[in-house]
Symmetry: C2
Subunit: 112 residues, 2 copies
Amino acid sequence: MQSLDAAFSALADPTRRAILARLAMGEATVMELAAPFEMSQPAVSRHLKVLEGAGLIIRRVEGTKRPCRLAPDAIAEIDQWLNWLREAMARNYDRLDQVLADLEKTTGDDEQ
Amino acid sequence: MQSLDAAFSALADPTRRAILARLAMGEATVMELAAPFEMSQPAVSRHLKVLEGAGLIIRRVEGTKRPCRLAPDAIAEIDQWLNWLREAMARNYDRLDQVLADLEKTTGDDEQ
DNA sequence: CCTTTCTATAACTTTTTATTTATATAATAA
DNA sequence: TTATTATATAAATAAAAAGTTATAGAAAGG
């Protein structure tokens, strides 16, 4: 994974997510990936470049073909970040609960 | 959550991720969120609008302030999609293992 | 009431992104 | 060799995004 910027940015495009979805079913060549879309082949090549740049897919050379597959650890860093956020939120809401409990006790509304 | 497009797109920007990180520590006003950045207040307001549009934050009105906090279920849909991808990948690699095992057995390299 | 604070919107500029068509390259097939 | 197939790159364009300054509006504080 190159960076969260690149990864999230790559995932923001529905065409690229569809490409990943197709690749989740197995390796595919550029033409195979391009087929379902009403889009030129160069456009798909560009999308693949973006996905590769984000570390989400890898490619091999097979004659004149360039079969793509998902990078095995593609979503590791994204997961890490989301998990961190999730945990921070949980802590935050725990603390909020505490605050609300304290307010309950004092029944004071002199905040604000 | 509005859409995966909006959510991933919102998360692709480092300033917005930093804002979320700040909000993970608790509610904050626009000015508080803007302070750490060398960026104008309108720019931060725009980022907040994007985050709100993506369903990642919520805001309340408190006098002239608009305190923001993380939306409780902010990352649910993202999680769902990533989990789906992860599982599809796992199935894919299981199948790949099977293919490799089959190749091993026949020791044939007449593919390609 | 007047001023200040907090936030949003508008208008504009600059960058980036997504796309197209045309073309180049490299391997395969005939 | 010549034609075909698979892919990439280049040039051009259009649309979206991110930032700026200027300004407006609403609430709060003297």
